[in-house]
């Protein structure tokens, strides 16, 4: 005789140790098994799109910092690309290289955070997280040298970057590039050789590719499920078409693959940064632009980058004024969250936390 059990509903969040921000889930459990889940968000909604309609084009850069606050550089970059396409600005080559370099460093930092929190969610109390944060700290130090800020960088501007890198930045970057691969080996070893981690992530949270495409997912999640789609390759921006890098692809689309894809992407990012350092030509870093940008009336543009979370796009429409008529942000975190039901239903409570961590959402970007 089967035991008759009663489903119970548990509210997880908005204040919960592992919902990665102010994210709330109303989960219905049958024992430990999840039978239904309803995400509730909007707790961090700051109306960025509305605010952008009241700022001028340069001021909006600071708003983009606050979207995905662990990957500000790529946010800056996506927005600047959109504005440049809107106005037809040509960015100096050195500026483009600096942007790519900063964006790739930011990708490493963001993936480190994602990896560290994934391990934290697995229950490894703090240790891997602290180690990941230690390395991220080195990148933030580099950012501090570049632009004086660590998190909300506002380094990129329409037309290039704010300043050229200072003299002592380059030796510091060299030291970082020399050191980082050995650390990544260490981190990967931690994953590949720990039996407990493997049984927790292998074949857990599988996402089929067709479902991901239908749900508009992008970024490492898509690649972990087997589609080699990277906007840096598919639609190169800045100087990406002149740089060599591979797009790592997973096979199963489980948590292990997502973790693995991020690890490999960090290595590729290091490769890109190294190429940027070698190839970077001297010259100006920012195009000569008027103080206040006024794009032509009726112009519209879509600028997108492959942010650490996926496709980050800015859709701008100008009415000829000093601020955009409409600024739509296509946020990867929100859209990756769409298949949350596929990701969580049918798994256990412990897996739920890990699955949620593995898609690496950022509430600043989901709620905007």
């Amino acid at each position: 005789m089967p035991i008759r059990t009663e489903p119970i509903t548990v509210n997880i969040g908005p204040q919960h140790p592992s919902t990665h921000g102010v994210f709330r889930l109303r989960v219905t459990f049958d024992g430990e098994m999840i039978v239904d889940v309803e995400p509730i968000f909007g707790y961090l909604h700051r109306g960025t799109e509305k605010l952008a309609e009241e700022r001028n084009y340069t001021q909006i850069v600071t708003l983009t910092d606050r979207l995905d606050y662990v990957a500000s550089m790529t946010n800056n970059q996506a927005y600047c690309l959109a504005v440049e396409r809107l106005m037809g600005i040509e960015v100096p080559i050195r500026g483009q290289y600096l942007r790519v370099m900063a964006a790739e460093l930011q990708r490493i930092a963001s993936h480190l955070v994602a990896t560290g929190f994934l391990l934290q969610d697995l229950g490894a109390l703090g240790t891997p997280l602290m180690y990941c944060f230690r390395e991220r700290e080195r990148i933030l130090d580099l950012f501090e040298m570049l632009c004086g800020a660590r998190i909300t960088v506002s380094y990129m501007r329409p037309g290039g970057v704010y300043y050229d890198a200072p003299e002592d930045f380059w030796p510091a970057l060299d030291r970082f590039l020399d050191y980082m691969p050995s650390y990544l080996d260490e981190l990967e070893q931690l994953l590949a050789e720990n039996e407990i981690i493997l049984v927790r992530v292998r074949n857990v949270g599988n996402l089929p590719l067709d479902r991901l495409i239908a749900c508009s997912a992008s970024g490492p999640i898509l690649r972990a499920s087997g589609l080699a789609w990277d906007w840096r390759k598919a639609d190169p921006y800045d100087v990406y078409d002149g740089l060599e890098f591979d797009v790592p692809v997973g096979t199963n689309g489980d948590n292990l693959d997502r973790f693995w894809v991020r690890m490999q992407e960090m290595r590729q990012s290091l490769r890109i940064v190294r190429q940027c350092v070698e190839q970077m030509p001297p010259g100006p870093v920012r195009a000569e632009l008027p103080l206040v940008l006024r794009p032509p009336k009726g112009a519209e543009s879509y600028g997108r980058v492959e942010s650490p979370k996926g496709e980050l796009g800015f859709y701008l429409i100008s009415d000829g004024g000093i601020s955009p008529y409409r600024c739509k942000i296509r946020s990867p975190s929100l859209l990756n969250l769409t298949m949350i039901k596929d990701l969580l239903i049918g798994w256990k409570l412990a897996d739920m936390i890990v699955n949620l961590g593995s898609i690496d959402i950022n509430m600043g970007e989901v709620d905007r």
């Binding site: 592992s18 229950g123 490894a124 720990n194 049984v199 412990a350």
Partner: protein, 379 residues
């Protein structure tokens, strides 16, 4: 000297009790010797309780410092030398908090939980010998007593989860009951090997029987015991009862203030108690390579420290298993392993013991030579 314990007395073997009794006996007329017993009894309880509390507090400090060091940060280092007074600062803070009971809680059960979880750990330590002839009680069923009394903590966890009226706590309690009962079996079975070897359940006899530390005679036993006891204590990788990243704080989510302090103390004190038991059963307790009689307590503390450090190290290193994996591990791995251990030990004891049932150092060495390869093969 009015009241004193003579060589023929029941209490003569217990050095600690005899000394306290005799010291107080100096000031008490012989007609009131029963009072002396009461006072000494209370004094010894006072020593035990405070010792456990102090040990738990020190352990909290040690755990935070060592974890901090392992995690590339500092840990508490502000209050007192090396932050040693941090537990006191924490305690004062928790004491001054409001004593909250949630509205939906089952009030009586909720308030009883801190007592129920702290009691077994203090009572359990009573039978552990600290140095030669220095113990609070020498029960002839010491091991059985330990098993029985630590089993109570399961009850405390379930009461906490049920009475809180909180679903996280309920989840933690349900997981806890399932896991703790499952892990109790291999843990107890691993202790059976020790009892077979010592021929006695008294922990004092267990220490005396260890001509060779039982850790080498019972490699499977220590493996199963350590894994089982980690689960009993809700330590990583078996900390699903608390599971910070899943259940916020598990069964004690609703506890705050001094009740929280007591529940936490039960947990941290549990590690100390488990380490004490482990070092008594497997490392020979107070006996050491030299000066066991004089430095017994020191040897004991060093062995205890070794196990404590091991527990902290494991906590800093391993992620958590899922509940089904944990149950499978208990029933499919630990349980058969402990049965193999008992079977092998029984056969060896049956053939090797002498007429009095005792085992010599040579016998133990032979058993170690058999059991270590056995452990390597089976596990």
């Amino acid at each position: 000297m009015n009241c004193s314990i003579g060589p023929d007395s029941l209490f003569h073997d217990n050095v600690l009790y005899r000394h306290i009794y005799n010291a107080i006996g100096e000031f008490i007329p012989s007609s009131l010797c029963w009072l002396d017993h009461i006072i000494s009894g209370f004094l010894i309880i006072l020593i035990l309780v405070n010792g456990v509390l102090l040990g738990a507090a020190l352990y909290v400090w040690l755990e935070r410092r060592v974890l901090g060091r392992m995690q590339n940060r500092l840990g508490p280092n502000r209050w007192g030398p090396f932050g040693l007074l941090q537990p006191i600062a924490d305690l004062v803070k928790l004491l001054t908090k409001e004593d909250l009971v949630p509205q939906g809680a089952d009030r009586i059960a909720f308030l009883m939980v801190p007592i129920v979880v702290v009691f077994p750990l203090i009572a359990g330590l009573a039978v552990v010998p600290i140095a030669r002839n220095t113990f609070l009680a020498d029960l002839n069923i010491g091991v059985l007593y330990l098993v029985a009394i630590t089993g109570l903590s399961t009850l405390g966890i379930f009461m906490a989860g049920w009475s809180s009226g909180n679903r996280y706590a309920m989840f933690g309690a349900m997981r806890g009951v399932a896991m703790l009962i499952s892990y109790e079996i291999p843990t107890v079975l691993s202790m059976v090997g020790i009892v077979l070897l010592a021929g006695s359940m008294s922990l004092v006899d267990v220490v005396n029987a260890q001509h060779l530390p039982f850790i080498v005679v019972q490699p499977l036993g220590i493996l199963v015991f350590l894994l089982g006891i980690s689960a009993e204590l809700n330590r990583t990788p078996f900390d699903i009862v608390e599971a910070e990243s899943e259940l916020v704080a598990g069964y004690h989510t609703e506890y705050s203030g001094i009740k929280f302090a007591l529940v936490q103390m039960a947990e941290f004190g549990g590690v100390v108690a488990a380490s004490a038991v482990a070092s008594t059963l497997f490392l020979g307790g107070w006996s050491g390579p030299f000066l066991s009689g004089q430095l017994g307590a020191l040897w004991f503390l060093m062995k205890l420290g070794f196990f404590v450090f091991l527990f902290i190290w494991i906590r800093a290193t391993f992620p958590r298993l899922r509940i089904d994996q944990i149950m499978a591990f208990a029933w499919k791995f630990l349980f058969p392993l402990s049965l193999i251990n008992i079977f092998a030990t029984t056969l060896q004891v049956y053939w090797l013991r002498d007429d009095t049932g005792a085992l010599s150092r040579g016998d133990l060495g032979l058993m170690a030579a058999i059991n270590i390869p056995l452990a390597l093969v089976t596990s």
